[in-house]
């Protein structure tokens, strides 16, 4: 087993243990739910990292067919697998966020820019999977879905990255609500949060690569 995979396991195990047992700041309303920072927020970092790699693989696929060279279909397959695992993480992020929202906001779902951004991201990538499944020809499928992946990723970033900053939001870090940099002046939370983010990204990457290898094996069979 490669070193980065072991690192991923150790970091996630540490963040789970430390996240549940270490001391956290005592704040009204939030109380112990502040621990969700270690579980909810890394899901989104992982999702963006995996989608970013999916985008890179799509661009690499589109460039692979240039100047008379043969296209590399496995790059597109990799883009698909990373996007799929990213959607798994977005669902996990959504569920952990909904549990937190029930405890602090009093409701599972509210029309908030962050939540809408998640819904749109899910819709965009579900459309990407539908597009893939509706084309028979492998090369055409790879080409069209790579083009859509690049186009959709940029518009998704506009939606989840730029527009929420223009509107009011209940979510921590928006609209005057304190985010995590305001809470911990003693940096205690940082020591759990950053390893959690890094560890989950490694684990997500690993899952995607396993899925990708499975797909390649199925294709060869």
């Amino acid at each position: 087993m490669k070193a980065w995979k072991i690192t991923g396991i150790i970091l996630v195990a540490y963040s789970m243990y430390a996240g549940l047992t270490f001391d956290v700041p005592r704040l009204v309303i939030l109380n112990e739910t502040i621990r969700n920072l270690y579980f909810h927020v890394p899901m989104w970092f992982t999702m963006i990292a995996l989608l970013g790699n999916s985008l890179i693989q799509s661009i690499r696929f589109l460039r692979s067919g240039q100047e008379g060279r043969k296209v590399n279909l496995s790059l597109d397959l990799k883009a698909k697998n990373f996007a799929e695992v990213a959607m798994l993480f977005s669902l996990l992020g959504l569920f952990t966020g909904m549990i937190w929202a029930k405890a602090t906001w009093g409701t599972y779902w509210t029309s908030d820019p962050k939540l809408n951004g998640t819904a749109v991201t899910l819709l965009i990538y579900l459309a990407y999977f539908v597009l893939r499944s509706s084309i028979e020809d492998l090369e055409k499928k790879a080409r069209l879905s790579s083009v859509y992946n690049v186009f959709a990723f940029v518009l998704m970033i506009v939606f989840i990255g730029i527009l929420p900053r223009m509107t009011a939001s209940l979510h921590p870090g928006n609209g005057g609500n304190p985010a995590f940099s305001n809470y911990d002046l003693d940096d205690g939370m940082r020591m759990v949060f950053y390893p959690a983010v890094f560890g989950w990204i490694l684990i997500g990457w690993w899952i995607s690569l396993i899925r990708h290898r499975l797909d390649i094996l199925k294709k060869e069979k």
Binding site: Y148, L155, V158, F159
Partner: protein
């Protein structure tokens, strides 16, 4: 290399075809008229928010309807077109003609909506028409630029008519939110100084879609 003449050829060609065919933009106009009339029967005296939501729903589905036909020619015709123009000129020409039709249909739908439903009751002031028209026009042009590109993707997939809406509606949301805000401020009678930053937002979304489309379209069109 972009040739203005090639873009113009595509634009005029599209436009003439639209005129000659009875299934051209008259269908789109009829579609939006029917939907607008239906809406006017279903709602009386809407609030400002409801009014805007209904109007943008009509505009978005009209735009979808127009754009879904943008690349619907048969292989033989495209064999001929591809001899005349390069993919980039084709995309720009098609985007321009689609946005032009969408603009016309949007303004006509707005007129019908205004006649049949009227303005919402905002008692304390008059709504100036000009900023509202600019907001709607820029919004519908931005919508149609995104839609032209997704229409090109959908046209490459045979026999899946609902794919177009699945692919494009999530992508339209940034444009839609920005346009909604611009038209809301305009409807509430805000001054132009307050609205024009959002117009710039609408314009930059047009630019973004067109630039992304221009980069990606040559890969898409290669067959």
């Amino acid at each position: 290399m972009l040739r203005a003449k090639a873009i113009k050829t595509i634009f005029l060609w599209d436009w003439e075809l639209q005129y000659r065919r009875s299934s051209g933009w008259f269908v789109s106009l009829l579609f939006s008229a029917v939907v607008t009339f239906l809406t006017s029967l279903l709602i009386k005296n809407p609030t400002a928010n409801t009014w805007l939501a209904l109007m943008w729903m009509i505009l978005i589905f009209s735009a979808l309807q127009i754009a879904s036909k943008a690349f619907s020619a048969n292989d033989g015709q495209y064999y001929y077109i591809n001899q005349l123009v390069n993919p980039l000129e084709l995309l720009i020409g098609k985007s321009l003609s689609t946005s032009f039709s969408t603009l016309l249909i949007s303004l006509l739908s707005f007129l019908l909506f205004y006649i049949w439903v009227g303005f919402p009751n905002i008692s304390d002031h008059q709504t100036p028409l000009f900023p509202l028209l600019i907001s709607i026009s820029l919004g519908s042009v931005a919508l149609s630029f995104t839609l032209s590109f997704t229409s090109a993707i959908a046209s490459k997939v045979d026999g899946n008519t609902s794919l177009m809406s699945i692919l494009s509606i999530p992508l339209l949301l940034p444009t839609l939110l920005v346009s909604l805000r611009a038209s809301k401020l305009a409807l509430l009678g805000q001054s132009i100084e307050q609205i024009y930053p959002i117009w710039i937002g609408e314009l930059s979304l047009c630019g973004l879609s067109l630039a992304l489309g221009a980069i990606l379209f040559p890969y898409l069109w290669r067959s």
